[in-house]
């Protein structure tokens, strides 16, 4: 024993390195030279070697079973994957449109204010995974353009309505989806259709937050007075253009646009026929707000309706 404790302390790191396979330089040389004459450090080296072995054994220690952890992870990842949205931003006659879809269907069609300004987009909501992938939504964009150019009248897309804010919101969107091309319904009528006849304003709010503009045709929902009321913030003009495309003419009335209901064909939901606005059968209706109005007979018949036996709109067409 010809070394002092300070030397031994200084050597401990080297001893650890040598004993546990961490030596990177000449530690081995130093340690062997020292332990040849220092019993204490030789014992320490031996101790660290044994610790290293016990440590090695930790790898094989039985751990509690994983107990379905992998299955839970797989389920969660599958859910994330199905929620993940791919989106693209495209020009359209109505301005920039953002289209997003998930594995389950189309989840978002929204107007962007300004040039591709994403700041207000619902994609920024918490918990939404979105990546730009225009290719994934190009075919949707193409169909939407055909629709906006009047070359097709249906967008039969599978819809992913998870961006709806509540069951009520979803119910309003569902009912709205059922309004046929070329027809208009009223906010009060939709409220009746979802079973909440007093919820007219809530319906209007729900449609204001429609995540699927154009596809869920909230432009076909107007006030009971025939006024277009509102659309996409302050863009009633877009609503008027979309309706005009579908053959529903709205006329300027004061600072509003208005549909002339007494110059439209009328459909009572549940019937398979359409009527003139003067048809006596209409007066028996419990909820006159539920009536829907078509701009033309062709549109009513394209929606699968036949002329009423009572008022014979085919014999007495409305003249503009």
């Amino acid at each position: 024993m010809n070394t002092n404790r300070a030397d031994c302390r200084a050597l401990e790191d080297d001893v650890i390195a040598v004993a546990t396979g961490e030596a990177i330089g000449d530690e081995g040389f130093r340690v062997h030279a020292h332990t040849a004459t220092c019993d204490g450090c030789r014992a320490m080296l031996d101790r660290y070697r044994r610790i290293d072995m016990a440590t090695w054994a930790l790898r094989t220690t039985a751990l509690p079973s994983m107990n379905g952890a992998r299955e839970r992870l797989d389920a969660r990842l599958a859910d994330l994957r199905s929620r993940a949205l791919a989106y693209g931003i495209f020009p359209s006659p109505l301005g920039q449109l953002l289209i997003a879809r998930s594995e389950q269907g189309v989840s978002l069609v929204e107007y962007l204010n300004g040039d591709a300004d994403m700041a207000g987009s619902r994609l920024h909501r918490r918990g939404i995974e979105a990546r730009e992938d225009a290719e994934a939504v190009t075919s949707l964009y193409r169909e939407l353009m055909e629709f906006l150019e009047g070359r097709c009248t249906r967008l039969d897309w599978p819809l992913d309505m998870r961006l709806a804010r509540s069951d009520f919101h979803r119910a309003v969107l569902q009912v709205t989806t059922g309004i046929p091309y070329g027809a208009v319904a009223s906010y009060a009528g939709i409220a009746c259709d979802v079973g909440k006849p007093a919820a007219t304003r809530a319906v209007a709010q729900a449609l204001r937050w429609n995540p699927l503009a154009i596809v869920v045709p909230c432009h076909r929902v107007i006030g009971t007075s025939g006024a277009l009321v509102g659309y996409a913030g302050h863009h009633v003009d877009l609503k008027q253009r979309l309706l005009a495309l579908e053959g529903v003419q709205a006329e300027p009335a004061g600072d509003q646009f208005r549909i002339r209901r007494n110059a439209s064909y009328v459909h009572c939901p549940g019937d398979d026929s359409y009527c003139l606005p003067s048809c006596p059968s209409l007066t028996k209706m419990d909820h006159p707000h539920r009536l829907r109005f078509f701009g033309s007979r062709q549109r009513a018949e394209a929606a699968g309706l036949v002329p009423c036996d009572c008022c014979h709109p085919e014999l007495h067409p409305i003249t503009p």
Partner: protein
């Protein structure tokens, strides 16, 4: 050449990451939560990972970061750390046979590791149980490779002190 699908990343690494987190937390329920979170984060970031990245080290880094946040929130490791000295007394006087002794040494090592301060504990497990190199260990802990090495060495010293007076046999005798 694209990335391998994320499913194969899960298939290859989930078991090991889970075991690591079990050792880190000493609780299965926490390991389950943390490993789910690790892979969910990895899933979200996977698309942006450079093509020739070391996926395994990357997953360990995520798991390590989550563990540190977890412990920071809990603070329970710090309290437990105060109890390191008690381990020896509990073990002393146990059976004398070789294999039993060896198993006990391993148990003591586990107990000491269990009570190490978070960084030393993580560094030790990453290096000594999961064989990551010090660059990867440092990445996980947000420190240099040298500091990571110092954490591991400090952990080994503490294990030695934890085993003081306890006879550690060279290996388990048949």
């Amino acid at each position: 050449m694209g990335q391998p699908p994320f499913e194969s990343v899960v298939a290859t690494h989930h078991g090991e990451i889970f075991r690591y987190l079990q050792r880190v937390t000493s609780r299965s329920s926490e390991a389950d939560d943390l490993s789910q979170e690790t892979f969910v984060r990895a899933f979200r970031a996977y698309g942006g990972l450079p093509p020739d990245s070391n996926v395994r080290a990357w997953l360990f880094t995520i798991a390590t970061n989550l563990s540190r946040n977890h412990f920071r929130a809990e603070r329970r490791r710090l309290r437990a750390h105060a109890a390191v000295g008690e381990t020896r007394g509990e073990i002393d006087g146990a059976g004398p046979e070789g294999e039993t002794l060896f198993r006990e040494a391993r148990t003591i090592v586990e107990a000491v590791v269990d009570r190490l301060p978070v960084k030393q504990r993580l560094a030790f497990l990453l290096r000594k149980v999961h064989d990551l190199d010090y660059d990867a260990v440092g990445q996980g802990l947000g420190c240099s490779a040298e500091t990571a090495r110092a954490h591991v060495f400090q952990a080994l010293r503490k294990i030695r002190h934890g085993l003081n007076g306890h006879n550690v046999p060279a290996r388990a005798e048949a």
